[in-house]
């Protein structure tokens, strides 16, 4: 998978692309580590994310904790929503419609 970062004003947007499987999920962990300490708002654009496993979900939870909740998921595909739903996260995360 690839992660590309773009700034939108004060919001850091990470564009996730490809398969966030268990082997690949550390790529997102790395990107989260590299965020500036001053980042106040974080968004994941998931339009090109084809797949996530629980390892990816754990990274999303970890980002949510790191940002004290200031995390938004954008352009989430139905496939990914169904995975979030399985873990009950769809109710707990901020998902932009």
């Amino acid at each position: 998978m690839t992660v590309e970062k773009k700034m939108e004003g004060s919001t850091a947007v990470l564009y996730l692309e490809g398969w966030m499987d268990t082997a690949n999920a550390p790529v997102l962990a790395q990107a989260l580590n590299e965020l500036d300490d001053g980042t106040k708002q974080l968004a994941f654009d998931m339009s090109k994310l084809e797949y996530t496993s629980s390892a990816g979900i754990r990274q999303i939870i970890s980002a949510h904790k790191q940002m004290n909740g200031a995390l938004t998921l954008r352009n989430v595909t139905p496939e990914i929503v169904s995975v979030l739903h399985m873990t009950g996260l769809d109710k707990k995360l901020h998902i932009e419609q």
């Binding site: 268990t22 399985m86 996260l89």
Partner: protein
């Protein structure tokens, strides 16, 4: 010839809440026996054990209500002319029913800290010497104890009275010699428990930790009134599950995979080739990904085999690893607070939601996990019918 061990974890199966209802399923003599236990936990184990015996009779002999007879020493067996033998044991939260074609004995004990020296006198000189020499003799103590108890139960005796008789036990080769008889035994160290089974012939031993689905099947066997259709359905399910390892061995040769997360690429290619890239396949892949992660991270396995095939509109996937005993079907997903959502178990919860059926077997030192995944969306089928 096979020896089969059904293991029911009363806690994981949450049987306590169903005790009254389960009691009502039993024939009256069994109910009376169960009601003699004053402690609820003892009563529960008794009821669960009886239900398992009746389910065994139904599955193997075709009727649940085969009468039981009791030997002079109190060992129960099925009355009448049949070769089916069983032995029952329970400890802590576990109830274990062993069955096979020869008289057999099973014993399970909870690994508790104990003053083993006070009890060690029942063992022979060699066992006592090994216990003295061992740094952590508790495990060894329970191994010796369960083997001897299983042996005495095979013989139909009540208590493990050993030292007075000419018994020679070879723990390395798992052979007991006693007064001209030669018996085989096997021991398993389950989390928190030691389990041994003993018989003159064991054959292939199948260890089956009952999932909640298996338990429902045990209950179904005990339900009195059955319509022929339901009977048919039960028979079909019985074939699908209990006998599945003989009848449904994968036709495809198994893929040998490295025990690393990178193995997922190979799994992904195989599954997509077999089933095509559809939302259903992706969900199946997700379960495979989670299973692989569990094996890689926790099993300490060195060998991993994977098979995948289409079977009657379903995808059948099998993982076989030589890691530590772990039965994912015994895992129960529970709703967690957000803060602890990432604390583990999430992957197993996802597998349970995706798979239409999952079976676990411990076989020849390997964990064999078989999953069935739906391949197409059933909505079209439902609306047309």
């Amino acid at each position: 010839m096979t020896t089969e061990l059904w293991i029911a974890d009363t806690e994981q199966l949450a049987l306590d809440s169903q005790l009254e209802w389960m009691l009502a399923l039993l024939p009256e003599p069994d109910q009376a026996k169960a009601l003699r236990f004053r402690k609820r936990e003892d009563r529960l184990r008794c009821v669960a054990g009886r239900l398992m015996i009746h389910a065994l009779a139904a599955a193997r002999l075709g009727q649940a209500d085969v009468p039981l007879q009791v030997s002079a020493y109190g060992k129960p067996s099925f009355a009448g002319e049949n070769a089916l033998q069983f032995s029952l044991s329970h400890a802590g939260k576990l109830v274990v029913l062993a069955s096979g074609d020869h008289p057999l004995g099973v014993d399970v004990e909870e690994n508790r800290p104990l003053v083993w020296r006070e009890l060690a006198s029942v063992f022979g000189a060699e066992e006592q010497r090994l216990l003295e020499a061992d740094e952590d003799p508790a495990g060894l103590f329970y191994r010796f104890w369960t083997v001897r108890e299983a042996f005495s139960k095979e013989e139909g005796r009540g208590l493990p009275i050993f030292e007075s008789r000419d018994v020679s036990i070879d723990y390395g080769s798992e052979i007991i010699r006693c007064q001209g008889r030669t018996l085989r035994f096997q021991t398993w160290e389950l989390p928190g428990y030691m389990l041994s089974v003993c018989a003159s012939r064991l054959g292939e031993v199948r260890l089956c930790c009952l999932s909640s689905e298996d338990w429902n099947r045990v209950l179904s066997y005990n339900e009195g009134s059955r319509s022929p259709k339901r009977e048919e359905e039960l028979e079909k399910r019985r074939k699908e599950t209990m006998g599945y390892s003989d009848e449904m061995m994968p036709a495809e040769p198994a893929l040998t995979l490295p025990v690393t997360l990178d193995a997922f690429d190979k799994i992904r290619m195989t599954v997509l080739t077999v089933a095509g890239d559809t939302p259903e396949t992706r969900r199946a892949l997700l379960a495979c990904d989670e299973m692989l992660a569990n094996i890689v991270n926790y099993s300490k396995a060195e060998s991993l085999l994977f098979t995948c095939e289409r079977l009657e509109g379903q995808l059948r996937v099998q993982f076989s690893d030589d890691g530590v005993f772990f039965d994912p079907t015994a895992y129960y997903a529970e709703e967690k607070e957000f803060e602890s959502l990432d604390s583990g178990g999430m992957g197993l919860g996802m597998i349970a939601q995706i798979a239409s059926a999952m079976f676990y077997e411990r076989k020849n030192g390997r964990n064999v996990n078989t999953f069935f995944f739906p391949l197409q969306n059933d909505t079209a089928h439902l609306t047309s019918s």
